[in-house]
């Protein structure tokens, strides 16, 4: 239905475009004057045709299903109508499957063929209503537009506004999607907090999400204190930042202040490749190479290091965010005005004195912003930690212990078959919400700092 309708609308739009354009050209011939180029009148008329038409299609896609379904329910025999909600949904699904030809269980009630026919007939009716009404409405609005085309009509300005609206609505989509994600996570998380106390979740010191399925089951206490997860996340992120910030920053300084164009042309793409490596690859780099190496080094000095140690995961994550830190800092350092550098050189300062005393202080807010963005990336990182970090929640700040993170727990809580009403599953949404709020907060501060810095020099 949709494909067919869209092709028809598209053909009509094309035809209308040329009709209106021809009309405009004729007007120009008669009057010797036309406000806009003829093609603008073509677009103008096409828009007037297609927008009401598409609105009807939109209404159809939003409401047709529920409209037909409610009609279908009303047409069903009394005894089926009085079934419970779940059973009724089952019956309706059977009818719908039957209607599109997927033969399924026909024993549920005798007249399923009849119900399916009714369902199909309803849809046929709606389809023809949508087709004719949209085309008629479109043609009416087209006629209105066609008649409004005069030599002085400002079609060009109309199109300008239409394009503005197009861009504006594209921007709105991103905002609505963010709000939608937040709300969907929020509602599930609220269901979790109906069962588990909010402060127990946030400040509780032990995490053991296995719920008892039957009475008296051993080891399934269902404790939801997320503190060990937060601690693990922060520990791993800190290790990552301790590696990435110095290396990334020094790289950025080298690239923007010291490297000549040749070196820069080679080094920058290599760094960008580093940021393009899929995190799952970093994950097995951590598991296969870094973790055993650290364990081996530890055993040489008599330390017993867990093979899922926070140190190994943090180092690999740090490698992952080096390009982020260096490219953000590089941008900021490069945007420090050349006049400041020359001012400092002109006073007899060396390059490193200039960098230390003038460029870095000037770029500091931007660099901090970049580091915060990198931090929120590290906190939200999932694949590396799922592969290489531990699963047991241990409240520890010792980098050679195995710790787990918020993202690891979300993954373990949600993989496999899950009941969506048990606190165990819902806990994942609460963790997700916490993570979302925290990284949102970090990004917000980071952007604020970066923006403030930008204003200073523009």
């Amino acid at each position: 239905m949709f494909g067919f309708l869209f092709i028809i609308i598209l053909l009509f739009c094309l035809a209308i475009f040329f009709i209106a354009k021809r009309h405009a050209i004729n007007i120009k011939k008669q009057n010797g004057f036309l406000h806009s180029l003829p093609k603008y009148y073509g677009f103008y008329a096409s828009l007037w045709f297609s927008i009401p038409t598409l609105c009807i299609v939109l209404l159809y896609s939003l409401f047709a299903e529920s409209f037909v379904t409610s009609n279908l329910v009303n047409s069903l025999p009394e005894n089926i109508k009085n079934l419970s909600d779940n059973e009724l949904t089952l019956v309706l699904n059977n009818i719908k499957n039957f209607a599109v030809g997927n033969i399924s269980d026909s024993s549920s009630f005798a007249s399923i063929q009849q119900a399916a026919d009714f369902y199909n007939a309803q849809y046929d009716l709606i389809h023809s209503v949508v087709l004719y009404s949209s085309l008629i409405l479109g043609l009416l609005t087209f006629i209105y537009a066609y008649r409004s085309i005069t030599a002085t009509y400002r079609a060009r300005n109309f199109i300008e506004n239409a394009i503005y609206l197009l861009f504006f609505s594209s921007a709105l989509v991103a905002i609505f999607v963010t709000a939608g994600i937040l709300l969907s996570v929020l509602f599930e998380a609220l269901r979790f907090f109906e069962v588990i106390n909010f402060s127990d979740f946030l400040f509780g010191l032990s995490w053991s999400p296995q719920m008892a399925i039957r009475e008296g089951q051993v080891g399934s206490s269902g404790l939801f204190g997320a503190m060990p997860l937060f601690a693990g996340t922060i520990l791993i992120s800190l290790i990552a930042l301790l590696l990435a910030v110095p290396i990334g920053l020094l790289t950025a300084i080298y690239l923007s202040e010291y490297a000549d164009t040749k070196v820069r042309a080679i080094t920058k793409p290599i760094l960008e490749i580093l940021s393009g490596i899929p995190t799952v690859v970093y994950g097995f780099f951590a598991v296969v190479t870094v973790a055993p190496f650290i364990r081996h080094v530890g055993s040489l000095v008599g330390l017993d290091i867990a093979s899922e140690s926070a140190l190994g995961v943090g180092l690999v994550m740090g490698i992952m965010i080096i390009p982020l830190v260096s490219s953000l800092s590089d941008d900021v350092i490069s945007s420090v005005p050349q006049s400041l550098r020359e001012g400092s050189y002109g006073l007899g300062a060396t390059k490193s004195e200039t960098i230390k005393k003038v460029i870095l202080p000037a770029a500091l807010p931007g660099i901090i912003g970049g580091i915060l963005l990198a931090a929120s990336r590290a906190i939200g990182e999932t694949m590396i930690v799922v592969m290489a970090a531990g699963l047991s929640a241990k409240l520890s700040f010792n980098p050679i212990d195995a710790v787990t993170t918020v993202t690891v727990q979300i993954v373990t809580l949600l993989t496999g078959d899950q009941e969506f009403d048990s606190p165990k599953t819902l806990a994942a949404f609460a963790l997700g919400l916490t993570l979302f709020v925290f990284t949102l907060f970090l990004n917000f501060i980071a952007l604020k700092i970066v923006r403030k810095y930008r204003e200073q020099y523009e």
Binding site: D260, T261, P337, S339, L340, R341, E342, G343, S344, Y345, G346, L347, G348, A349, T350, E353, K357, V358, P361, A362, Q456
Partner: protein, 276 residues
């Protein structure tokens, strides 16, 4: 047009003692056969010029004629531009500026520079002035440094205006004040020569007047080389003027002479607003 220019340029060669100081003033800086290339393009051709003690020499000429490039050769600031190549003999009080032995960093401490657009560092007023003395270790105690900062600000005519807020950011000052801060910053390291690249072009007339007054006072102690686009400014503050045209130094002489009775056709046209 190009042919005419070329002809005029050839004519220039007839004048002798181009760029040398006729009076018995001591020479601080001298430049012989200066050529500057940006990649393949030659920006300056065989420039000869001397700068004397206690004088203001104005470099004038249409945009793109190489005045700023020449200025930046004098403290080797062109070294920071990769594609730029400089040849010729430059000396500062007898020392070869471009020799391998010359410490560029110390050279720039001896040849201060003030830029077209005020460029105070994003630090406090005090830190801006103390920046040079600190990196060169000119003062040995905090008190000495404080005194030097005050003295420099005073000589730049800024102390009265900022003494209550010496620790507020240098960028919070007005444009003219910022430029005087940059001058204070430059004189705090006690240079021999101060280079000024259109120091007033970003300023309003009142701030300009203040800077010009300042230049007049400063010339007692420093040699000043100044690029300017304002003929009247060159006439007001400089003792000698040098006219550049498309990479050539056309004419040098006493400012009065250059303005009233230029020897060269190109100079005359420029002074009377018929070129550039």
């Amino acid at each position: 047009m190009k042919n005419i220019d070329q002809h005029n340029v050839n004519q220039k060669k007839e004048f002798e003692t181009v760029g040398s100081i006729s009076s018995s003033k001591d020479v601080v800086m001298s430049v012989k056969d200066c050529n500057v290339f940006y990649g393949e393009n030659q920006a300056l051709k065989n420039i000869n010029l001397e700068v004397g003690k206690s004088e203001v020499i104005a470099l004038i000429g249409p945009s793109g004629c190489g005045k700023s490039t020449f200025l930046r050769c004098l403290n080797r600031l062109n070294d920071t531009i990769d594609s730029c190549r400089v040849t010729g003999e430059f000396s500062l009080e007898g020392e070869d500026i471009y020799s391998g032995d010359m410490d560029v960093v110390l050279l720039r401490a001896r040849v201060g520079m003030v830029f077209q657009k005020p460029n105070p560092f994003p630090k406090s007023i005090y830190e801006n002035v103390a920046y040079g003395p600190k990196i060169h270790g000119i003062t040995s105690s905090k008190r000495e440094l404080d005194e030097l900062v005050d003295l420099s600000l005073d000589r730049a005519g800024l102390l009265e205006e900022v003494k209550d807020r010496i620790h507020s950011p240098g960028t919070s000052l007005s444009g003219g004040q910022q430029q005087r801060l940059c001058i204070a910053r430059a004189i705090a390291i006690k240079p021999d020569v101060i280079l000024m690249d259109e120091p007033c072009s970003a300023l309003d007339p009142i701030a300009t007047e203040k800077i010009e007054g300042l230049i007049n006072e400063l010339k007692e102690n420093y040699a000043i080389v100044m690029v300017t686009h304002s003929m009247s400014q060159a006439a007001r503050v400089s003792q000698r003027a040098a006219y550049f045209h498309l990479g050539d130094l056309i004419e040098v002489g006493d400012t009065k002479k250059i303005f009233e009775d230029p020897e060269h056709e190109l100079t005359k046209n420029y002074i009377h607003g018929r070129t550039g």
